[in-house]
Symmetry: C2
DNA sequence: CGTGCATTGTGATAGAAGTCACGAATCAAG
DNA sequence: CTTGATTCGTGACTTCTATCACAATGCACG
């Protein structure tokens, strides 16, 4: 349970009465790193608002290959939870905690109720959708139009932005998996980036030195 | 301008009062085949509901390469127009008429108004989003996980479904462009499909014989 | 310390797809 | 009919990516 103050800080765009409602009806849940917030085929009874931490949303195909779609950070909602919840549809995506994560779970009937009552909620929902839609478009852009070297750079940049660090603490195997590539390919491409001085391969992580200049 | 009866046939899920409103405030516009309903960077003043015809929604990169995202058919809305309109954002996609197309253009302030007034409108908007989101996911799936041969089969199947015909009247060059591939590659893959008896290359079109058995 | 496990680097190879070059076929317009 | 534009098929080649094989490293744990 959060106080109205805390909710208000996370979602400054919400009207005061809505903030109260959220504080009332939102159940605070915590997930540990690598816990699943959502799995393919799962149904929802709640709308999920991210309070703290970072969530990775990805697709998994029938052979277990992964493909990273986008990240969700605090102040954002899991759009899928909203849409799926409202129409009782199954999720098509996996969502996994990248760090320890706190979320507010809100019973789905509140979603409908608030949509008609609070303009700020309505805008929030639509804006969230639009943002996720744009994320998907960006992801498609890269996989459709770019080679693996550029996609890797994009991956590293996005990691840096979302995790707010220059240290990419993912094994090469994991990176390859999220790009649906293979370890060897990513290893070679990282070598090239490090030869150009754009990253430094450290013992336990990849240090991003400068990726601004490259596309 | 459509009559309430016509609107009701197209959108049977809408409540009677909403049908009236739509008939009142929706301006009927027509587009000819290959006209643009929407271009990258464009802003909206209207929400677009498709009355008849088929619309192709695709992405274009900076070098002019295309990539087909999904089709919109009658009874559907251009989700992008809804979201962009509501937030005054620019479109990231191109939408082109695949056939002659009729649409209802609805002033965007109606969107907000109806969202809070008519449950069926609210459901329609959300469901439309979800459906488009799923389309995008399916598109990503293919480009991320599948080879060009499977993507071509998917392309042909989708074409058949959406155009409701076994005759694919697209030049090989166009198909290649929409898959962001090259003419030669598609030509060879089509040859293989035709050797397997799955399609027949006719003078002016590609005849789909049987694509059910293949994935 | 030694053993097993996970991670990484790298060469060799294969396959998928893009590119280049060229010729054939079709069709519209003069 | 002739010309030019467009489309299409195909062989040769290149590039990118995936896969295989194998070795090296470092770490956890008994």
């Amino acid at each position: 349970m959060l106080t109205a103050d805390q909710v208000s800080k996370l979602f400054p765009q919400f009207e005061a009465p809505l903030v109260e409602k959220i504080a009332e009806s939102g159940a605070l849940k915590t997930f540990q790193k690598d816990d699943f917030l959502m799995k393919t085929g799962q149904h929802f009874r709640n709308i999920i608002l991210i309070v703290s931490g970072l969530v990775k949303v990805y697709r998994e195909d029938d052979q277990g290959n992964e493909f990273l779609m986008y990240y969700l950070a605090s102040g954002q909602a899991c759009s899928l939870s909203m849409i799926c919840a409202s129409r009782f549809q199954a999720s098509q995506l996996m969502a996994k905690a990248e760090s320890d994560v706190e979320v507010l779970a809100i019973p789905l009937q509140k979603m409908d109720e608030w949509m008609t009552t609070y303009k700020s909620w309505y805008y929030f929902v639509l804006e969230n959708y639009r943002a996720r839609f744009d994320d998907l478009l960006e992801t498609i852009d890269h996989v459709a139009f770019r080679n693996m070297d550029e996609r890797l750079v994009f991956y590293l940049k996005r990691y840096k932005d979302k995790h707010n660090t220059n240290e990419v603490r993912q094994s090469i195997t994991e990176i390859a998996s999220e790009l649906n590539s293979s370890r060897e390919v990513i290893s070679r491409l990282l070598k090239k980036l490090s030869e150009r001085g754009l990253v430094k391969m450290q013992r336990d992580f990849i240090e991003i030195v400068d990726l601004q200049k490259v596309i």
